[in-house]
Every structure is written in C-alpha cells, then in structure tokens.
C-alpha cells in the first residue's frame, strides 16, 4: 500500500522526446516567457505616455543588440504560442486528436510560427 511506490509518468530522464511532448512543454515555457514579456509592453506604453525622454530610453534599449535579441525571442515566442494556441482551441472543440493529425498540426505550428516571425521582421526591416 506504499503510495510512493506508485509509477510516475512520464519519466522525463528516460522518456524519448517527441514532437508532441516538446511542443506541449514549449507552449507552457513560451507562455511564462510572454507573461514576463508583458513588462516590456507595459514599459513601452507607459514610457510613451511619460514623454519623449522616457520613450527614448526604451527605444534606445530596444535598438541595442540585447534589445534586438529580446525582441526576436519575444516575437517568435508570441507567434509560437499563438499558432499552438489555435491548435489547442481545435482540441478544445473536439477536433484533431488522431495521431496523424496531431503530428500534422504540430509541424504546421512549427512552420507557421517561423513564417509569421520572418514576415513580421521583414515588415520591420522594410519600414525602418
């Protein structure tokens, strides 16, 4: 009757990573990262309201190499969480649970999030 002898699932140390499990934990990781990233959205808009000097500080930070690195990660995390979130909404509605469909929608999420990120940066580069 020992409760601590019960099997745990999955054993992450020995469990082979799969597209499904990697995308699943990535959804959570990007979600937490985006929650932290909301600080940047708040800072940007609050600085804009505070005036030109405060706004110049934010824009200066975002224009640094660290700023670009954060913005690039932010944009990919956002597009990934958005695409995989749509995948989750289809599951919530009861669709797409067949193994083949799960893998197809998984790869579609990977490709679409990368494509949307590239499109966003292409717009930014053309506009700058």
């Amino acid at each position: 009757m020992s409760v601590d002898r019960r099997p745990l699932s999955p054993h992450l140390q020995v469990y082979k990573p799969q597209l499904t499990s990697v995308l699943s934990i990535s959804h959570r990781i990007t979600g937490v990262a985006l929650a932290v990233g909301t600080l940047l959205l708040a800072w940007w808009l609050i600085a804009a309201a505070a005036g030109p000097d405060a706004f110049a500080v934010v824009q200066g930070f975002l224009g640094s190499w660290l700023g670009y690195l954060i913005l690039f990660g932010f944009s990919y995390a956002l597009m990934y969480h958005l695409c995989n979130g749509i995948r989750h909404l289809f599951w919530d509605a009861g669709y797409g649970f067949e193994l083949e469909t799960v893998y197809k929608s998984g790869w579609a999420t990977v490709i679409a999030s990368a494509a949307l990120t590239v499109i966003a940066w292409a717009i930014a580069i053309v506009s700058a």
Binding site: R28, G31, V32, L34, A35, T38, L39, L41, A42, L45, I46, A48, A49, A50, G51, P52, F55, A56, Q59, G63, S75, L78, M79, L82, G85, I86, H88, L89, D92, A120, W121, I123, A124, I125, S127, A128
Partner: protein, 132 residues
C-alpha cells in the same frame, strides 16, 4: 436516475450547479479560451502595426496610440493580455509550487502584479488618447 444516486456521493444540487471542488466550475477554463480567441486578431494587428512603424520617434508613437481606433484596440489588447497571462501563470504555479504558503503568496503576487500593470498600462494609453 435511482442507480445514479446510489453510485454518486454528490448531491443532485451539487451536480446541477456543476461548480466542482474548487467552487469555480469551468470559469477559469472558459475565460482562458475567451481571451485566447480575442488575442489572436489583437496580437496579429499589434505585431504588424509596430513592425510597420519600426524606429518610430515619440511624436509618431504618441499620435498612433492616441488615434481613436488604436486606443480602443490597445486597451482591449492590454486587458486581454494581462487577463490571459495571469490565468496561465496561475496554472503553472498550481502545478509546480506545492507548499501551500508559497503557492498562495505566488498566486497573490502574480494576480496583484497583473492588475497593477494592466491598470498602469491602460491609463498610459488613455493619457496619450486624451492628452492628460
């Protein structure tokens, strides 16, 4: 129905209310989905808009935030974003933080921070809109 009542320990009233042990029912789940659906168009609009104004100066940013349609969409974006974020972080905390005291403190901190940031950001948007 008679067979059901023998098997279930739940009262018919508890079952018909459908609120479960957390007394919350599906409210958390529903709010997370509702904000998710709202955030799909709002996020795509925001990303395309700010990407299209890359390198903007303060005057351009202030004019953009203060234009009526943008003000409305930004307020909706900020509200939905922080609502969705704190619902999601709540689930992560409940999954990984097991000490009751730590869990409660973390949940309160996240909820307070989300409301504080959301209100501060929305007020910033409105100040730019109404020239306060």
């Amino acid at each position: 129905m008679a067979g059901n009542s023998v098997r279930s320990m739940r009262t018919p009233l508890a079952r018909v209310r459908g609120l479960g042990s957390a007394k919350d029912g599906v409210h958390h789940w529903w709010a997370q989905r509702l904000t998710a659906i709202a955030l799909v168009p709002l996020t795509l609009w925001f990303v395309v808009s700010v990407a299209g104004m890359a390198g903007m100066d303060h005057a351009e940013a202030a004019a953009w935030v203060g234009s009526p349609a943008v003000t409305v969409l930004l307020v909706l974006l900020v509200a939905a974003t922080f609502w969705h974020a704190q619902l999601g972080v709540q689930v992560v905390i409940e999954d990984y933080v097991h000490g009751e005291g730590c869990k409660l403190a973390a949940l309160i901190a996240v909820k307070f921070a989300a409301v504080l940031l959301a209100v501060a950001t929305i007020v910033a948007v409105l100040r730019l809109a109404f020239g306060g």
